[in-house]
């Protein structure tokens, strides 16, 4: 099995994540899609580490996971707060600007 397939998988996951962010309204789902994109990036890092035969990519992947964990904490807190005040988790409802 060619190692390039990992990269294809990473690209496909990233695209699914990006499309999900754009098309879904539910904030939780949007958040999950973002996580998907981060994991796609992680996969790419690890794959490149494997291709180049060194450890830098793997180290970056750990960093990404930590950042993603922090992000989830903050992001979920925001989403919960918004849900409390607006009784909705739809990202479209959170627009206050005039059209």
């Amino acid at each position: 099995m060619s190692i390039a397939n990992y990269l294809y998988l990473s690209a496909i996951l990233f695209t699914i994540g990006a499309v999900g962010v754009v098309v879904r309204r539910n904030a939780i789902v949007v958040f999950m899609c973002i996580e998907l994109m981060l994991n796609a990036a992680n996969l790419a890092f690890v794959t490149f580490a494997r291709i180049n035969g060194n450890l830098e990519g793997q180290v970056v992947a750990f960093f990404t996971m930590v950042v993603a964990a922090c992000e989830v904490v903050v992001g979920l807190a925001i989403i919960v707060t918004i849900y409390r005040s607006r009784r909705s988790a739809s990202v479209d409802d959170a627009s206050l600007l005039k059209r």
Binding site: V21, V22, R25, V30, D92, A94, S95, L96, L97, R99
Partner: protein, 630 residues
């Protein structure tokens, strides 16, 4: 050259008094006129003292100077605010303060019913100060300050009753016409500075030989333009008739005796320039001849007594300007006519004011008639002025005008005959229109159309008129006797002692011709206006009369040639400004507004659309990087 410390008071006194009266306002109402008159009389006293002191000195020591302060000091260029009182200035100082004082006295009574009399006297004093500065300045720059000052005073006094819009317009017209002339004077000063690096009369006179004739001609022509503006000469004459909107004492002082003669002073003072610029001199003669006939023709058709006198002033100043253009010998005769004219024209204007006073401010001579028996003193004094202006010997005008006619005839060749003929014709027309004024006003049938009889004016008005009319009897004889004025002015205007070019006609022949021309004019006037007159001006008149009633179309000409194209130019410039310049600015503005409107829609508040934009942007970047690197 003598120095004196008194000269500055000549100017400072009336200036201070004027400022005081204007600043104190109503508090000075009770005594303002008395202060102004006293100040004017003191200026006359200083002038008289200086005159007698000057007479006592040697010819070379006669001019007096006083440096007041250093005005401009830039590198090599120095202008002092200095005064110069010489044989020429002293004539003007005595005329301005003498006639000015008499007119102040007259105005006390004439303006007694006007609740703004104090302001009137403040302006009169301002005028006296400015006019004295004009004739006392020792450089063109100092003269210019006075020149502008009299223009301001004239504007303020013409528009003294500015609650009437027509009068305010007349004031503005005078101011604008004067500005055109002022441009001439400032250009002349600039050319003189560029040529000589100096603007004092003395400095320019000393270096006059070194200058190119082109520069001299340019300065001369610009000075002539200035003189034409201030002295109501062709082609800037149109303001003088309307200037009669001012109170009559103002017409007498500013628009007859003194300010309008400033042009004659300017040309006489600049004799060294005109003597070196024959072309400019010829233009001076032409302007003088045109104006003297122009004014005379307008005078024949005016029914407004003040406007008839104004036309006559214009014509008489034409004589003076003509004389100044006739070379060194003419200057003294111009000044002589200026001084005699100052007496008789002021006396007639004040007489006209006296008539108006007795006739409820009526100015239309068609509504006068037979006033002589009600106002005998006014009639006699006006009559003396009349005899003086038409030039009946031995009254003042005879001596002075006769000298100008003689000089014109002796100018040589065809030019002399033409000029002489024109001056004779002018004298005949003058005799005609002045006789018309006298007949229509003082004799004939009574046409005033109401029962109230005219009454003689109070003594305070009659005394100044009487003194002036004594001047119009005696001044000509005194000036002409033994060529006293000519010899007095000789060191200033004719140092070389130049005589007539040729004696074309003997003086006695010229005098007889002049008197004959005058008699013709008088007889025509008597024949035409002897009988019963209607109180309305006849409507069916010939083309020349119609033209003269419209001031020979001077206003129509100005409006067609200058005003309308000027307005068209302004309008098109306004349009260009609106369409092109404002249009450009508006386009830039509307572009930013439009851009804002469009870009605003991007910020819609939907997180998902922001995310989409980010993705598209990143993709675009990637594509760019991929395309540029591969």
């Amino acid at each position: 050259m003598t120095t004196s410390n008194n000269l500055v008071w000549l100017i400072a006194l009336p200036l201070l008094s004027s400022g005081l009266l204007l600043l104190l306002g109503k508090r000075a109402d009770k005594w303002g006129h008395l202060l102004a008159t006293t100040v004017s009389a003191s200026a006359f006293a200083i002038g008289a003292v200086e005159f007698f002191a000057m007479q006592g000195r040697d010819v070379l020591d006669r001019p007096v100077t006083q440096k007041i302060f250093t005005w401009i000091s830039v590198g090599n260029f120095n202008v002092d605010a200095s005064l110069l009182l010489d044989q020429l200035s002293i004539c003007f100082v005595l005329l301005i303060t003498g006639v000015g004082t008499l007119i102040h006295i007259y105005s006390i009574s004439y303006m007694s019913h006007d609740h703004e009399r104090r302001r009137f006297f403040a302006y009169l004093n301002l005028f006296i100060a400015a006019m004295l500065l004009l004739v006392l300045g020792d450089s063109y720059l100092n003269l210019y300050v006075g020149w502008e000052g009299v223009g301001l005073a004239s504007y303020l006094l013409i528009g003294f009753w500015n609650q009437k819009p027509a009068y305010a317009t007349a004031a503005k017209k005078a101011f604008v016409a004067n500005r055109v002339g002022d441009i001439g004077l400032s250009l002349a000063i600039m050319i003189a500075f560029a040529t000589f690096g100096d603007v004092t009369f003395k400095g320019i006179e000393e270096h006059a030989d070194h200058a190119s004739s082109a520069a001299m001609t340019a300065i001369g022509l610009m000075l002539l333009l200035a003189a034409a503006g201030k002295s109501a000469q062709f082609p800037l004459q149109s303001w003088l008739g309307d200037a009669m909107a001012g109170p009559t004492p103002v017409s007498a002082l500013i628009h007859a005796a003194t300010m309008v003669t400033a042009g004659v002073y300017l040309i006489t003072r600049s004799n060294f320039i005109f003597d070196a610029a024959p072309t400019a001199q010829l233009m001076v003669v032409i302007v003088g001849v045109i104006t003297l006939l122009f004014g005379a023709i307008i005078g024949t058709a005016k029914d407004d007594i003040k406007k008839a006198l104004a036309a006559s002033t214009m014509s008489q100043i034409g004589y003076m300007i003509l004389a100044t253009g006739l070379g060194p010998i003419g200057y003294a005769f111009a000044i002589m006519h200026l001084l005699t004219h100052g007496f008789f024209k002021a006396s007639m204007f004040l007489g006209a004011g006296s008539v108006m006073h007795g006739m409820k401010d009526e100015v239309n001579m068609r509504k006068y008639g037979g006033i002589g028996k009600f106002m005998p003193i006014t009639f006699v004094t006006f009559g003396l002025g009349y005899l003086a202006i038409i030039g009946i010997p031995p009254f003042a005008g005879f001596y002075s005008k006769d000298k100008i006619i003689e000089t014109a005839f002796n100018a040589g060749g065809l030019k002399g005959i033409l000029l002489g003929g024109a001056t004779l014709l002018g004298a005949a027309i003058t005799a005609f229109y002045m006789s018309r004024v006298v007949i229509m006003t003082f004799s004939g049938n009574e046409r005033w159309g109401h029962k109230d009889e005219p009454h003689e004016s109070p003594a305070l008005m009659l005394i100044p008129i009487s003194i002036l009319s004594i001047g119009s009897i005696a001044s000509g004889f005194l000036f002409a006797r033994g060529d006293s004025l000519v010899n007095w002015l000789k060191p200033i205007v004719n140092p070389a002692g130049e005589q007539h070019l040729e004696e074309f006609l003997k003086p006695i022949v010229v005098s007889s011709m002049a008197v004959f021309a005058v008699l013709i004019g008088v007889s025509i006037a008597i024949a035409k206006y002897r009988g019963e007159l209607q109180s309305e001006a006849p409507a069916k008149v010939n083309a020349l009369t119609r033209a003269a009633r419209r001031d020979l179309f001077q206003d129509d000409f100005n409006e067609t040639v200058f005003m309308r194209p000027g307005q068209g130019l302004i309008k098109s410039l306004l349009n260009i400004d609106y369409i092109v310049i404002d249009g450009l600015v508006r386009t830039v503005g509307s572009f930013s507004v439009g851009a804002g409107q469009t870009l605003r829609k991007v910020q819609n508040g939907y997180v998902r659309s922001y995310a989409l934009m980010m993705i598209v942007g990143v993709l675009a970047l990637l594509v760019t990087v991929w395309l540029t690197t591969s």
